[in-house]
């Protein structure tokens, strides 16, 4: 049992919060991203109503396969994040825990397992009931078991691609051949199950579109190099929906281009979407704490801390050669920090910390995600050491379970961390 879960005083954040201030109007790109996501949910509902088979997929399953087959897919991890961000998670978490789910399980999984009975999370977007499941374990092993639970509950088939954890500093050839064979097998089985036809030319085209969108996404993230940054790094979390859901569609490119135009406008005007003077630039390690996203941003803003780099958002920046299944296999196997050896994680962070002029790292000790936190302490030490004693801090949180986060702890630690970064910067300035 998790002690924090047992806290009877734990309440939904909105029950305890002061009256909210009027929100900043959303930018055109934000509205476009939201509309694209709403459309993806609606299209899936309509497809099912027409009698087409629709699926649920893990967020790092190669979307290129379903997109090529013209299948409509939704993503339970994003759905769980949206439910949590809209502060609608409580009844789902309680329902799951009352139906054999241990408190210890991933909060996204608990929300989804409950949703697979309830099928209503309004006012958030609903996911249509799936006819099949697509599993990729490159994010974690746990998701395999989670989707098995859903598959059995709804009596629907699963199609799996096992991406095999990489303990070597590269994806071995034996892995590539195994993953490639699975991709080919999934293509055949999924086509047969859904009555769709595989078109290799369309597959290559989807990979091209996905690569274009990936490059635009990289361009957006790279604007964070500028000092001060023209955007708040937390903004990236708002655009992850399209990058996960519709990475293979041209409309996603439209959203990214609009976002780039807005950033360029900020650069021209000397303004930023970061709503304060940028004093410190930090690397955010781990998934966002969705139920407290605005609280986190507000607290960071108070000290002028802008999140200028994150490994999480970059996991969907998949670099491969369009038309080449082996390069797709390598890219999906090696993209997530959760599927690679620690030395590679450290190498990437060292590179990003330099590129984005990072002053310190904030580590989210995510109660929902063992694969992210069970090597995190060594990661903290090694990254700091590799980056000349770069300061770091950690806080206890959870990607979707509001009960596992303390606003007071976060605020206190951020205050102390700002001071630590200030001293470190001074020391560096003074040689």
């Amino acid at each position: 049992m998790n002690e924090q879960n047992m806290n009877p005083a734990a309440v939904q954040p909105d029950q305890a919060a002061a009256p909210a201030k009027p929100k900043r109007p959303k930018s055109k790109s934000q509205l476009m991203a939201g509309a694209l996501l709403d459309k993806a949910y609606n299209d899936t509902m309509e497809a099912r109503a027409r009698g087409e088979k629709i699926g649920w997929a893990t967020s790092l399953f190669p979307q290129e396969i379903a997109e090529t087959l013209g299948l409509h897919i939704v993503y339970p991890e994003n759905h769980g994040a949206a439910i949590a961000a809209k502060k609608l998670a409580a009844p789902f978490l309680e329902y799951a825990e009352a139906h054999d789910c241990n408190n210890d399980l991933c909060s996204y999984a608990k929300i989804d397992i409950a949703y697979a009975d309830i099928f209503d999370c309004s006012p958030a977007s609903n996911m249509a009931k799936p006819d099949f499941l697509l599993i990729g374990n490159n994010g974690c092993n746990e998701i395999t078991k989670w989707f098995e639970v859903i598959g059995r509950k709804l009596e629907i088939p699963t199609f799996m691609i096992d991406f095999t954890y990489n303990h070597m500093p590269y994806v071995t050839d034996s892995r590539v051949q195994y993953i490639k064979a699975q991709i080919e097998q999934v293509i055949e089985a999924l086509s047969a199950f859904t009555g769709t036809t595989w078109d290799p030319d369309r597959f290559a085209e989807i990979m091209r579109v996905s690569t274009e969108n990936r490059n635009l996404w990289e361009q957006v993230a790279d604007y964070l190099e500028l000092q001060p940054s023209p955007l708040s790094g937390f903004d990236l979390f708002n655009y992850m929906g399209p990058m996960v859901f519709t990475r293979g569609r041209r409309e996603t490119g439209d959203v990214m281009r609009q976002l780039i135009a807005e950033i360029e406008e900020h650069i021209k005007n000397g303004t930023s979407t970061f709503p304060a003077k940028e004093e410190f630039r930090v690397f955010w390690e781990g998934i966002a704490c969705w139920p407290y996203l605005s609280h986190n941003l507000k607290t960071l803003k108070k000290y002028g801390i802008n999140v200028c780099a994150t490994a999480y958002a970059r996991a969907w920046s998949l670099d491969y050669t369009p038309g080449d299944i082996e390069s797709l296999a390598r890219a999906y196997a090696f993209t997530s920090s959760n599927n690679i050896l620690l030395e590679e994680s450290v190498r990437r962070r060292k590179e990003w910390n330099t590129k984005f002029h990072i002053d310190g790292t904030i580590y989210h000790v995510n109660r929902a995600c063992k694969v992210m936190v069970c090597q995190q302490q060594e990661l903290m030490r090694q990254v700091s050491e590799a980056c000349s004693g770069l300061p770091y801090m950690s806080f206890d949180g959870d990607q979707a379970d509001f009960r596992n986060f303390s606003e007071a702890q976060f605020e206190t630690r951020i205050e102390a961390f700002a001071e630590l970064m200030r001293k470190h910067k001074e020391e560096r300035r003074n040689g």
Binding site: M1, C101, T164, Y178, A181, V371
Partner: protein, 373 residues
């Protein structure tokens, strides 16, 4: 009977003193390799004359391991890290760690970087076992393990020796299954604690040594008249049923263990290494054939497996030894709890922790189960 008791007493001492076993092997000039939970290709080490020893943690205070693992990490992994960091594993040259779950993925890294005096040999099992490419991949992975063992221990692992070792492991499987069956006719002798000690001792001896003792124990059990057990019988499922304090509660309530689906116990022995000419291919084939919660399984054969264990062994209840923070087991519980109850068996889930004195609540719940039965 005296000989039987002597053998059981010997295995009890082995199970309770892995450190002593390690020291003894080292004194004999043997080399030792650690095997992390819960399947490793230990045959490869055995074939080179290296003694594989299981690493299942211990009831120990966690202090240095806190620098690597969060408090909500698997208790076995916390104590394995602690024992690695505090020098208890000194003398073990290398450990094999399968990245079978999310925590184990990370522990391959924590151990490698934290415990500098012991080499770490990580490897990854394929999850998607439906296609032949999975076996080919696993052969490559095991070949990498073999090469690392050869490099670290300065040995050559010969095909003929691997085949011989496989024969011993398969024969040992047969004897362990025979023991599990015979034990049910002698529940006065093979109490829950004795049963556990017999299984646990196998982790700290060469399989050849354990095999010889098991043959003698089984032969002795066979000659004894069957005992009519007056208490109730249960089946255990999970990773481990430790420490012994938990099993003592079962004995106090006159509950016998009539079968198990524990990773530390019968999961190891129910699937033989298949026939074939290529040793590494045979080891890969064993993983392909296993029914195990650590592998992707659409059909969840565990439902049938647990149902059969209860029925075939005339057991009255299922006790789930749920290792704290073990997510694969926690998800599987969602799948089988309802099913086993629908068959008419009570299911009692107990949290398993390696910390001392963690069983006060379990005592009350097991007592209630015994009264209900």
């Amino acid at each position: 009977m005296a000989n039987l008791q002597e053998k059981l007493q010997y295995l009890k001492e082995v199970a309770g003193n892995p450190g002593k076993q390690l020291a003894q092997y080292l004194r004999q000039g043997r080399q030792v390799i650690g095997t992390f939970p819960y399947y490793t290709p230990e045959v490869l080490a055995d074939a080179a004359g290296i003694v594989p020893m299981g690493m299942w943690g211990a009831q120990t205070e966690i202090s240095q391991a806190r620098k690597y693992l969060v408090a909500f990490a698997c208790p076995i992994m916390q104590s394995c890290m602690e024992l690695g960091l505090n020098g208890t594993y000194h003398g073990v040259k290398a450990v094999m760690i399968p990245s079978m779950c999310d925590t184990l993925r990370c522990v391959t890294q924590d151990f490698k970087l934290g415990v500098r005096d012991i080499a770490c040999i990580p490897f990854t099992y394929p999850q998607n076992r439906k296609i032949p490419a999975a076996a080919a991949y696993l052969k490559a992975e095991f070949t990498q393990v073999k090469e690392r063992i050869e490099e670290i221990y300065q040995v050559a692992i010969e095909e003929e020796a691997v085949q011989k070792s496989i024969a011993v492991y398969n024969e040992h499987n047969v004897q362990m299954r025979r023991f599990a069956k015979l034990a049910n006719d002698h529940l006065d002798v093979v109490t829950p604690i004795v049963r556990h000690e017999v299984f646990k001792s196998a982790w700290f001896m060469t399989k050849a040594e354990h095999l010889e003792i098991m043959k003698e124990i089984n032969d002795s059990l066979e000659t004894l008249p069957a005992h009519i057990f007056a208490g109730k019988k249960v089946i255990l499922t999970g990773i481990t049923a430790e420490p012994e304090g938990l099993l003592q509660i079962l004995e106090d309530q006159n509950l016998a263990v009539a079968g198990d689906d524990l990773a530390q116990e019968m999961r190891q022995y129910r699937t033989d290494i298949p026939e074939g000419d290529d040793g590494i291919g045979r080891l890969a084939g064993q993983w392909m054939n296993r029914t195990d919660p650590m592998a992707h399984d659409d059909e969840i054969k565990r439902l049938e497996l647990l149902g059969n264990l209860l029925k075939d062994n005339d057991a009255q209840a299922l006790i789930v030894c749920l290792m704290k923070f073990c997510d694969p087991e926690e998800y599987e519980f969602v799948a089988y709890n309802k099913y086993i109850k629908s068959l008419g068996y009570p299911v009692l889930s107990i949290d398993i922790d390696q910390q001392p004195g963690a069983y006060d609540q379990a005592r009350t719940r097991i007592q209630t189960l015994a009264e209900m039965l």
